[in-house]
């Protein structure tokens, strides 16, 4: 940015990177090929090295979720607290407990996501057409890895199990 003092240049670069990150995190960046508009302009204006670092972080900084056991235990504790803080009419009442209850979501049928719709809260506001691009690895309680990739793995194994081998593959076996 010739002509700008250093501080001003940094501010402008940071603003451009910020716009680029908005697009990247909303899933626009993954679908930009063949499209035009603000996303392309932000993409072209950002230093390729910075773009690459952003992509690495996007891939690498996995979302995490606590164990369901912990989540339910804390839910019960909060329900007890809430019952004690109400108007008194709830004292002595049965504490509502909803094991693995799913939060309301517009992300589709509850059965689509085996780990619960509530864990996709971060991507819930992504437009429907872009959700596939926004799917990210998820670590649950330090034990399981990506819900999306695990599902893909299961689907792949299932396909392999039911698929009839091609002639070329049969030739290879002989």
């Amino acid at each position: 940015m010739p002509g700008l003092p250093d501080d001003g240049r940094v501010d402008v670069e940071a603003l451009i990177v910020d716009r680029y990150l908005d697009a990247l995190l909303a899933g626009d960046e993954g679908t930009r090929d063949g499209e035009t508009g603000a996303t392309d302009r932000a993409h072209d204006a950002v230093d390729p090295v910075t773009r690459e670092a952003a992509h690495v972080l996007r891939r690498s900084l996995v979302r995490v979720h606590p164990s369901f056991q912990f989540e339910e235990r804390l839910s019960v504790r909060l329900a007890v607290m809430a019952a004690g803080r109400g108007d008194g009419s709830r004292l002595g009442a049965v504490i509502p407990f909803h094991p693995l209850r799913r939060a309301q979501s517009d992300a589709g049928p509850a059965g689509d996501n085996p780990v619960g719709d509530d864990v996709t809260a971060a991507s819930r506001d992504v437009p429907a057409g872009r959700r596939s691009a926004a799917v990210r690895p998820l670590l649950i309680g330090g034990a399981i890895t990506s819900a999306a990739l695990s599902l893909a793995g299961v689907a792949w194994v299932a396909r392999r199990a039911v698929r009839t081998p091609t002639l070329a593959e049969l030739d290879g076996m002989l």
Binding site: V49, A53, M81, R85, G86
Partner: protein, 222 residues
């Protein structure tokens, strides 16, 4: 989804020549959690909806800060019990310029989280520190069974990125985590960290340059 609220900037329909569409331009979208917060204020049992919505985000923030699952769980528990206790004192401060995705409840919750994490970090100074790399270890072994080679490359790349993240100054690391893991807007991060939006943008820009440099991709080398 932001809940449109007919507020200060709403014009009566009759004054707008474009009918409904024009009237909607005057609708101010406030805190997207407003209906949930209102419900929880009326009936504290309804706080569960807010809890379910944000428990993973708060836990993730705590885990990236503390690199310890148990400590992250402790922090998460303290954050939500404090939030429930303090909910009557919560004041919605969303502004129209914060955009339709603004949630001041989330900002408020993360400000509590930031304080609880800071207390936990002070208390843990004398204890052995585990690495974030180790804490996220399972998450970094993401396997795509169709392409083991690519999977290994991505795993190594993720481990390197997490190690770089750990070495960043606290404020830069925190800003990156809020941006990339919790997917907050710059305005939200600024409110959580008590900084201006411009300062947060510069913070993230510099943090990205640090990451690029540490990963062996300094600016100018293309």
């Amino acid at each position: 989804m932001a809940r449109p609220v007919l507020g200060r900037q709403t014009r009566p329909t009759g004054e707008t020549p474009g009918g409904v569409e024009a009237a909607q331009r005057g609708v101010v979208a406030l805190d997207r959690d407003r209906s949930l917060v209102e419900a929880a204020r009326l009936d504290p049992a309804q706080f569960e909806a807010l809890y379910r919505k944000y428990v993973a985000q708060v836990y993730a923030f705590a885990l990236y800060e503390l690199a310890d699952h148990h400590a992250a769980e402790d922090v998460t528990e303290r954050v939500f019990t404090r939030a429930l206790a303090a909910l009557p004192r919560f004041r919605e401060l969303a502004r129209p310029e914060d955009g339709p995705q603004a949630s001041t409840f989330r900002v408020w919750l993360f400000r509590i989280a930031r304080n609880v994490v800071a207390n936990e970090r002070r208390a843990r100074r004398r204890r052995p520190v585990t690495s974030l790399d180790a804490a996220l270890g399972a998450g970094l072994t993401i396997a795509d069974s169709t392409d083991l080679e690519t999977s290994a490359v991505l795993r190594d790349e993720a481990a390197a990125a997490v190690r770089v993240l750990e070495r960043l100054p606290d404020d830069r690391r925190r800003a990156l985590v809020l941006r990339f893991v919790d997917e907050m807007s710059t305005a939200e991060i600024a409110a959580v960290l008590d900084r201006s939006e411009g300062a947060v943008r510069v913070l993230i820009h510099r943090a990205l340059n640090d990451v690029a440099h540490a990963l062996g991709r300094p600016r100018g080398r293309r």
